[in-house]
Structures are given as C-alpha cells and as structure tokens.
C-alpha cells in the first residue's frame, strides 16, 4: 500500500522534505557475505528519492531521530576519512549500510544508518541534523 502524507518540517528541523511517499510492505535489499538479501520493511522516501527513512521515524518516535547528533564534534568527524554521514552514524552507535529500496517500480540505491530498535534514516538525514547543531 502506498500513501502520501505531509510531514511537518519542524519535526525534523527542515532536513526532510515535506512530501513523502511511504510503503508499509516495502522491500530493501543489500549484499552481505557475497549474497543478496531482501527484507520487508515499512519506510518512506521523498518524491525525488533523495531521502529515506523508516516509517517508525515519521513521528520522530524512533532511535534514529531521538539520538542527538550534536554530541559528535566536527573535530571528531573531520578526523575520519570517507563519507561523513557514515562516520557520524558509527559514532552514534548506529550501523551504516549501503542498500537499495523498491518503490513499486524499480530499485533505488541509497544508504541508511540502522539503530538498535530497527529504525533508520539515510546518512544524509543524519548529517543534515548535525549540520543544524549550534
């Protein structure tokens, strides 16, 4: 089932666009140990497929959005190489993963930062929240 919803910009401090498309029986796939795995999950993504988060994070009621990225200093991020969103995810005790999600028509490449409760946001969202820290 696909539905459209409006998401308050304030809920995510402006990091997420206002219109999201969600699927409660969506498919996520990734390669692990040389094999492809497909899991079913409830998630949302922006119309332009540039933002991705678990449905449980829509209302900010998930570990991925409750965890404050502000506690990670820019100095700590700068010391590391690579995608800073992945580094931030790691420092917040999440697990960064390259994935693809299915929108009902095709697979879209993306990444996510997976937290202990199974919730996730793409690493860009995580980094965007860090960018808003005072």
């Amino acid at each position: 089932m696909i539905w459209w919803l409006l998401l308050s910009i304030a809920a995510y401090g402006g990091v997420i666009p206002t219109d999201l498309e969600c699927q409660n029986q969506g498919k996520i796939r990734y390669v692990s140990l040389g094999k492809q795995h497909i899991e079913t999950a409830a998630y949302c993504y922006s119309k332009n497929k540039s933002y991705f988060l678990s449905a449980s994070c829509r209302d900010r009621d998930c570990a991925a959005t409750k965890t404050s990225p502000c506690k990670v200093s820019l100095a700590a991020l700068s010391r590391e190489a690579g995608n800073p969103g992945f580094q931030l995810c790691h420092k917040l005790k999440g697990f960064a993963q390259v994935v693809e999600f299915y929108d009902g028509k095709k697979w879209w490449s993306m990444d996510r930062c997976l937290f202990y409760d199974g919730s996730f946001v793409d690493t860009g969202i995580l980094l965007g929240r860090r960018n808003e820290c005072k």
Binding site: V15, L74, N83, H90
Partner: protein, 380 residues
C-alpha cells in the same frame, strides 16, 4: 607530493612544486614504457599543461550550454567510510571506456600496491589516493568488475541481524565501524605472513573474525584460500594483489588502447596555497562542451562543515566527476557526480536543496567551484 592531490577529510600538508609534478609525470611515462606486465590496453599517460588560461569571468546563459551525461554512469557510488573518492572516480571513468561497471574496491587495492600507493599508505593508510595513480594501474592491469568484486558488501549487517534474530546480545557496533572495509583489511594485514596454521587457529584474530573479514572483502574466495594467500605471500601488498586477482581471475576489464588524459594543477605559493585556481575552469569547461566527463579535485568546504578549530593551513580535498553543465538560477553551474551515495540531506545549504542536489549529484556554481579547485583532469 601525493598527499596534496586528494585526501578526503585528511590533512593536506604536502608540498607540490610544479617541478616535482613534471618529474612525476615523466617518471610515470617511463614506468609505462618499461612495464611489460600483462595489459588489457595500451597505457594511459598524463601531461601537465601549465599554459595559463584567461582569468575567470562569470558567464551569461548563452555561453553556458546545457550538457548532462550522468546517465551513462548509472547510479551514484557510495564510498562508505573510506577515503576512496579517487578510486570511485577512476572506476567510473574506466567503466564508461570499458563498457563494464568496475569495482572501486578492486581498483583501490591495486592502487595501494603501486609505488605511489605504498607511499600514500605511509601517510594515511587506506584513506586517500590519486585519480591519476588509480587510472594508471587500472589501465595497465585491468580492473575487476563490480559483479565479481563488490564494493558494497555488508557482512557485518548480516551478522548483526543473525544475532538479533537469535536473541543474542547486539554485537559491538564499534567494531563494525563504518570504515568496515578498512577494518577488515587491517585484520587480514595483521595475519599476513603468519603460517596457515596460525591464521586458522585464531590466536591473532579470532577465527570468526578472520572469516568475517575474508568473506566481507573476498566473498568469492574460500576463507581457507584467503588464509593460504596471506601465508604464502611475502608482504601485505602482494597478498592483496593475489586476493584481488583471484577474485575475478582473468575477468579484468580496461579501456581500448589509446586512452589519454590531461591533468591540470593550480599553481602554489610559497606556503603551498593554491593560486589562480579559476584558471583551471576553462579546461573543465572545454571537456564538458566536448561531452567528455572530467574530474576535479577541490576543497569541499561548501558541502560539509569544517572543524572550526582546524588550522587555516589544513585543507580537506575531495574529488568528483563533473558530468554536466547548465545555466540555473542566474548562474552557470556544473553537475558534480559525488561518490557519497544518493542522499541529499547531508549537504550544507544550499546544496542539500532539491534545486541543487539530485540523488547525490550536485549543481555547483562555476564561481564557487573555481575558487576551490586544485586539479582538473580531462580525457584528451
């Protein structure tokens, strides 16, 4: 010298004199000439063109023709937690000239076995490199395809889920860092040179940890064969070379003979700060007008926040492909194909805006790009 060229989010304190660069280029060409290694293509070589270009002037719409050839590269890559932007760019370039989607992981491993890569390893292990260096080794030796040697394998996630499903405690996510590839490489590096028995008995790293690292990096190889490779090679570089080669066997891809690139560098002042960066822009513009992708090395300070306490003389460098150009919002902009996945939320304003970010591709104004450029590479 290589430190300077591109180290994403790492210090760039190396001195780069034009004379050094010239010498490097000459040495590179000599190396090609002398090398009789198995080759899938004629060697690429690079020239540094120091001819001055006219100063930069912002252009009007009629001098900023629309070009967009991002489609030929497929979905954006994601370099994960390692500083392999250089390998992603080089793999993208070699992919379109070979007709096969090639593995940045395989190419990075090849680079680190080269003389330049070994030097790089002494400075920032596995965290940086040069596009030119990666292109050299890739063209000379061929590159494994992404299908044979995946760059996004994610063993730790699988293991974590297995543990969660079995009701076991969460594994230590700290260990499964975002730089998981680098971690796995370190595990194998620690084991290189030890006897097969020592590797498999788990005294240095637990057997499970070894198998994870082995399977993560070389899923097509039996861990015992990986252990054998580590035990029988003389050094780590040789071991990696053996393992990468084994992963795709003879299925290595490269461009047709005759592929050549030009590389242009910004001049440097006495303190090694880049000078006249805007004069690199015409070289980039010329390539895009010819519908040829180009790479740029630049300071990405406009994309990612910088540590406010970092010294002024510390420069972070990043490299991306440029795959388009368009007059947008009153400015001529270039389309940068970044290698940090398809997300747009992490870029500083205004680059995270949908007007400027399209699934990891970023429209950047020519003036802002020109002010941060240190290198432009184009196909001849």
């Amino acid at each position: 010298m290589k430190v300077f060229l591109l180290l994403l989010f790492s210090l760039s304190a190396g001195a780069t004199e034009p004379s050094e660069l010239t010498r490097f280029l000459v040495e590179s060409r000599a190396a090609f000439t002398d090398t009789a290694a198995p080759s899938v293509s004629a060697p690429v070589f690079f020239e540094m063109n120091t001819a001055p270009a006219p100063p930069f002037r912002p252009r009007s719409a009629n001098k900023c023709g629309h070009e967009d050839f991002r489609e030929q590269f497929g979905e954006n890559r994601n370099q994960d937690g390692v500083g392999w932007c250089f390998a992603n760019v080089a793999a993208d370039l070699l992919s379109i000239y070979s007709g096969e989607r090639l593995s940045p992981f395989g190419l990075a491993m090849q680079f680190y076995q080269s003389p330049e890569g070994r030097d790089q390893m002494k400075v920032t292990p596995l965290y940086g490199g040069t596009v030119t260096g990666a292109l050299e080794v890739g063209v000379r030796n061929g590159v494994c395809s992404e299908a044979d040697l995946g760059s996004a394998d994610d063993a730790a996630s699988f293991l974590m889920r297995e543990q969660m499903a079995g009701g076991k405690p969460m594994p230590d996510l700290e260990r499964y860092s975002s730089a998981i590839v680098a971690d796995s490489l370190r595990v194998l590096g620690d084991l290189q040179g030890r006897s097969l028995e020592k590797i498999l008995d788990g005294t240095t790293h637990g057997c499970e940890e070894f198998v994870e690292a082995s399977t993560m990096l070389f899923p097509k190889l039996d861990p015992v064969d990986v252990a054998r490779g580590l035990a029988t090679t003389r050094n780590y570089f040789e071991a990696l070379n053996y393992l990468v080669r084994s992963s795709c066997g003879t299925r290595r891809f490269g461009p047709k003979p005759g592929l050549q690139f030009d590389v242009f560098f910004a001049d440097r002042d006495a303190q090694q700060k880049p000078l006249h960066q805007e004069r690199l822009l015409p070289h980039l513009d010329q390539a895009i007008s010819a519908k040829q992708p180009a790479w740029v090395v630049f300071d990405p300070k406009m994309l990612f926040p910088r540590d406010p306490n970092a010294p002024d003389n510390v420069t972070s460098l990043h490299t991306v492909l440029v795959v388009g150009r368009e007059f947008r919002d009153g400015e001529c902009k270039f389309l940068l194909r970044n290698s940090m996945g398809s997300s747009c939320g992490g870029y500083l304003a205004p680059y995270g805006d949908p007007r400027n970010c399209e699934r990891g591709n970023i429209w950047m104004s020519e003036s802002e790009l020109a002010a941060s450029l240190v290198e432009v590479g184009t196909k001849r």
